[in-house]
């Protein structure tokens, strides 16, 4: 019951989705359409589960006073504040339980939820990812060493693509005559991306695709059961 029924559900649903591709008529087409619609709703609950789980994990860390626990208080407070603002006055387009909060909008220019999004969250997110610019530069100096044929190929491709993807690349080889246009850096970069890069990525894509198809079949047939967790 606890393990067999979920396996049967997976088998039936997976099979219906596949069959409906080849027999799109009733009943398969209709059932498949309903399943897709339900998927969206269940995905919504899955997202809610994720956020509640984050809340629970942080709450427990604070409760048991784990290392750095005061920082988790900050996480929980931020979460509660954002959710409260959203529930009370809604988002840019949706009303909350207290309506749209026009008086607040008149004071601070936005709804509180959007104010936090535009002035805090948006910048935190963008800055967090931009940190990688510094680390990639440092990595280029420390680890990007030509030692073998493979690393040479990797390095040369990287340098040519980097040069070709800037205005500097156009300026550096812009003087070349039309007969040598294939040596123009943006052309070289385009060539690498269009042919050898596509070949390599396509090989990965086909390999990963075959792997995914195999995994999907194993899941539908009940051979792969790790997603059920537990014993």
């Amino acid at each position: 019951m606890k393990r067999k029924l979920p396996l049967i559900i997976t088998f039936i649903i997976g099979s219906i989705v596949i069959i409906s591709e080849f027999i799109p008529h009733r009943p398969f087409g209709t059932i498949s359409g309903n399943l897709e619609e339900w998927f969206l709703i269940i995905s919504g609950f899955a997202i809610i589960l994720g956020q509640l789980s984050l809340f629970k994990v942080n709450f427990l860390k604070i409760k048991f006073k784990q290392t750095n626990w005061p920082y988790y208080v900050v996480t929980l407070v931020s979460f509660v504040v954002m959710v409260s603002f959203g529930v009370f006055w809604g988002t840019e387009s949706s009303a909350g339980i207290f309506g749209h909060g026009y008086s607040i909008i008149a004071t601070i220019g936005d709804k509180p939820f959007d104010y936090l999004f535009y002035n805090v969250y948006q910048h935190l997110s963008a800055t967090m990812f931009s940190l990688l610019a510094f680390f990639i530069a440092s990595a280029a100096y420390r680890s990007f060493i030509a030692r073998t044929v493979e690393s040479n190929l990797l390095l040369i491709a990287a340098v040519l693509v980097m040069l070709g993807n800037t205005s500097m690349g156009s300026a550096l080889t812009g003087w070349l005559p039309p007969s040598l246009d294939f040596l123009h850096l943006p052309r070289v970069s385009e060539f690498i991306m269009k042919y050898p890069n596509t070949a390599g990525q396509r090989a990965i894509m086909i390999g990963a695709g075959l792997g995914l198809i195999g995994s999907s079949l194993r899941i539908i047939l009940g051979i792969e059961r790790s997603y059920l967790g537990g014993k």
Binding site: E37, E92, S125, F134, A137, A140, Y141, S143, L163, S170
Partner: protein, 280 residues
């Protein structure tokens, strides 16, 4: 280890400082290096140019502020391009923050295009989870997935959505994608299942893996990859913006990274020689 050899020689914070300065200075003192267009971006431009006025297109905002500097400029230009060609824009988002990214552009364009009417020329249908499965359901019946727009208005009441039942009534889909779900899912469903043209813009990180879709099958009709492509697109539609102004800084930073690679390699080989001599 090579990494150890080089890391002993310089505190990496100096590298950080150099990168910071090399990006900041060209933003203040503009050089104005030329911009050259590539085939993939021209294909995107041509797709919009060849779309008949009055057609309806889906622009999917599948990114968040973390990728905004790369994708926002191309999304802005695409929206301007569509409005100039009188193409009706239906906005969707597979990422929740995409909704606000689109609204931010909409607010700016309201000033630039005062004749643009919400519900007639533009609509934002909001965020839906579920990635590929949701797109597949959308392709069969739009209304089951998007019963309302972001304001809660039923899509049956919106003039722009009149006659839009599924992908048959859409000219093309353009996804601005920072990862998964995103452009890959749009290709797999919208083009490969429903046969509609798909184009879009991606972050530089995901570009190499998406490029195989630009092929003779036209799984993707062109692709804009990163800030450089955004600048090319701005150049093609003659609307220079944030991408164009960032290209000088991009060029200088790339050059600096290449210099780092060269210095790193010289140091490595020098140290290797020293070690070899010491061992003799």
């Amino acid at each position: 280890m090579a990494g150890n050899v080089n890391s002993q020689q310089i505190d990496r914070r100096w590298i950080f400082l150099l990168i910071f300065i090399c990006v900041a200075l060209p933003l203040i003192f503009v050089i104005g290096l030329p911009i050259e267009t590539t085939e993939n971006v021209r294909m995107v431009n041509d797709l919009v140019e060849n779309t008949p006025p009055g057609s309806k297109v889906i622009l999917s905002f599948d990114y968040d502020p973390g990728s905004k500097p790369e994708l926002h400029p191309m999304a802005t230009t695409m929206m301007k391009h569509c409005l100039e060609k009188n193409i009706k824009i239906i906005v969707t988002a597979l990422w929740p923050m995409g909704v606000q990214m689109a609204e931010e552009i909409h607010e700016i364009l309201k000033v630039e295009y005062p004749e643009m009417e919400y519900g007639v020329d533009y609509v934002n249908l909001g965020f839906k989870a579920g990635g590929m499965v949701t797109i597949q359901a959308m392709g069969k019946n739009f209304r089951t997935i998007f019963p309302t727009d972001i304001d809660g208005t039923s899509i049956d009441e919106l003039p722009i959505m009149k006659g839009v039942k599924n992908f048959d009534n859409i000219a093309f889909v353009c996804s601005f994608s920072a990862g998964d779900p995103g452009i890959k899912q749009w290709v797999q469903i919208t083009h490969d299942t429903f046969g509609k043209p798909v184009t879009g813009g991606v972050t530089g990180v995901s570009a190499p893996a998406i490029l195989p879709y630009v092929n003779e099958q036209q799984q993707l009709t062109g692709l804009m990859a990163g800030l450089k492509a955004a600048a090319e697109y701005e150049y093609l539609v003659k609307k220079p913006g944030l991408a164009t102004s960032g290209m000088d800084a991009q060029s200088i930073a790339h050059l600096l990274i290449i210099i780092f690679i060269v210095i790193g390699n010289i140091n490595y080989w020098k140290n290797k020689k020293k070690l070899a001599k010491g061992g003799e």
